[in-house]
């Protein structure tokens, strides 16, 4: 089964076989786990943006929406060998990566999770908008819960209202 998923990722299955594997992933369980893990490794190998929180969900969703994405012809020549090697060599790392990326992260999660997260915080570029008209009110409401007040007393509260000054002066 793992071989089939590897082939699926490398665009080496025909349409019917691919559809079967996609359906298997869609049912969850081991197929889905394998799919997630392999993608994680292959992405990590390519230094692409990986491990984002909604990663596996969004891949599966896109997979259903655009199955052609799975069969990029140009990768066919060397990808399978490359992937097999990568997967074998990093076998030990697989479990680790899988655990780091998918384990629930409770408050006392070990610090090293942070090491892995470095690569993945990019969101799609946001649209820049002016602050909402109630921005100061939100800031004031927020400020009381910021632990910074414990280190700094009331000083951060000037942020709240300094934006107000800006607005009024416009």
């Amino acid at each position: 089964m793992k071989d089939r998923i590897s082939q699926l990722m490398d665009g080496e299955l025909d349409e019917r076989a691919a559809a079967e594997q996609i359906a298997a992933c869609g049912r969850g369980g081991e197929a889905l786990e394998t799919w997630r893990t392999y993608h994680l490794i292959s992405d990590a190998m390519r230094d692409t943006r990986v491990l984002s929180a909604g990663f596996s969900a969004s891949v599966v969703a896109r997979l259903e929406a655009e199955p052609t994405v799975l069969a990029p012809q140009r990768r066919r020549a060397e990808s399978r060998t490359r992937f097999a090697l990568s997967a074998a060599a990093s076998f030990a790392a697989v479990g680790l990566v899988g655990w780091l990326a998918f384990a629930p992260q409770p408050g006392n999660a070990p610090a090293q999770i942070a090491e892995v997260q470095k690569v993945n915080i990019q969101e799609t570029a946001p649209v820049l908008v002016p602050p909402p008209s109630a921005a100061n009110d939100y800031l004031l409401a927020h400020q009381g819960f910021s632990p910074r007040v414990s280190f700094q007393g009331m000083a951060p509260y000037v942020r709240t209202v300094s934006a107000k000054g800006r607005e009024t002066r416009k």
Partner: protein, 325 residues
């Protein structure tokens, strides 16, 4: 590729092995800063800078047998005063003749009032920040110990804290982005320890005729109402949930997430009755980012002193699932 694969494994293993202890001395300094913030009576002047702009404020704090009271008065631009007593913050806006009142909901059990950082939570900061001591530098004529908090990932900002060697009071604080550039700064230009007459902590204006905007915060269970995050931001835990008013808006849900130093609030309010359409997108002021989007006929506004990507990620994870009856 094989080499790179092995390299990756080695890197990951190194990451695991790197659970190095933080400098105990640096943690002691953080506690000292924290204690000074709670226990000292003082007055001083500080300058706040967020990139291009700067503003000067007076700050006065008095701790005595009747409790503590603290007042900040912004000296530049539009006048305003903020006064905090044990569980209430009042923000006075003389031009608009408005007092905004933030009363903390009694949702913390024994630990009433404003969130205090307990000693064990200070140690817990080491999960997300490398905490170390820097040089000694002078601020406002006083020798200060620098305490550096370097984030372990790009989900939060770094901090340089300059603490008065003698009292532990934080006399300068810089917030740094991933490139190490200072994006926000508080610096005392003058600082004096000692009690001042209580008179000086009263609001400057007679406010009887001013409009009062009460936050009316009450504890709430927004999770049970169907609101949550499809995935949490690593290290940021939910610390509180409440219902309140924000400015002139009616009932607004607020959920706060924090990593122990930075906090991000998610505000949720129904779209009904709003005249303007929701403008999806990001706004930023200094270290603060605000991301707005619409979810299930509600306007979701996420506000936090965290990098844009963190705020945006929390905003994009907000979801509503109709609760099962």
């Amino acid at each position: 590729m094989l080499g790179r694969a092995l390299g990756l494994s080695a890197l990951l293993c190194a990451g695991l092995a790197q659970a190095q202890p933080q400098s105990a001395e640096a943690l002691t300094w953080l506690r000292k800063i924290h204690d000074a913030t709670r226990k000292l009576s003082y007055s001083g002047t500080f300058v706040y800078r967020d990139g291009s702009r700067s503003e000067t404020s007076r700050i006065t704090r008095l701790v005595d047998a009747t409790g503590s009271i603290e007042k900040v008065e912004v000296m530049d631009g539009v006048p305003r005063e903020i006064i905090r007593t044990r569980d209430t913050v009042r923000c006075y806006l003389p031009d608009a003749r408005v007092v905004k009142v933030e009363r903390q909901a009694d949702h913390r059990g024994a630990e009433r009032g404003f969130p205090a950082l307990l000693p064990e939570r200070i140690s817990a900061l080491a999960r997300h920040y490398d905490i170390s001591l820097g040089e000694v530098e002078r601020v406002a004529g006083l020798d200060c110990q620098i305490v550096k908090l370097s984030p372990k990932d790009e989900l939060r900002y770094g901090h340089m804290l300059y603490a008065d060697m003698k009292t532990g009071m934080l006399l300068k604080a810089e917030t740094l982005d991933a490139k190490g550039e200072v994006i926000e700064q508080f610096t005392f230009t003058e600082f004096r320890v000692g009690a001042v007459p209580r008179e000086r902590l009263k609001p400057r204006h007679a406010t009887q005729a001013w409009r009062v905007e009460e936050s009316g915060a009450t504890p709430a269970n927004l999770a049970a109402a169907g609101w949550g995050l499809s995935s949490e931001l690593p290290g940021f835990r939910k610390v509180t949930e409440l219902r309140r008013r924000v400015g002139e808006a009616g009932s607004v849900g607020q959920v706060v997430y924090s990593d122990g130093l930075a906090a991000v609030s998610v505000f949720i309010e129904p779209l009904e009755g709003r005249r303007d359409p929701v403008r999806t997108g990001l706004a930023g002021v200094g270290a603060i980012h605000i991301y707005t989007r619409e979810v299930a006929r509600h306007m979701v506004t996420v506000v936090g002193e965290a990098p844009a990507a963190s705020v945006q990620r929390i905003a994009n994870a907000v979801e509503f699932r109709r609760p099962q009856q």
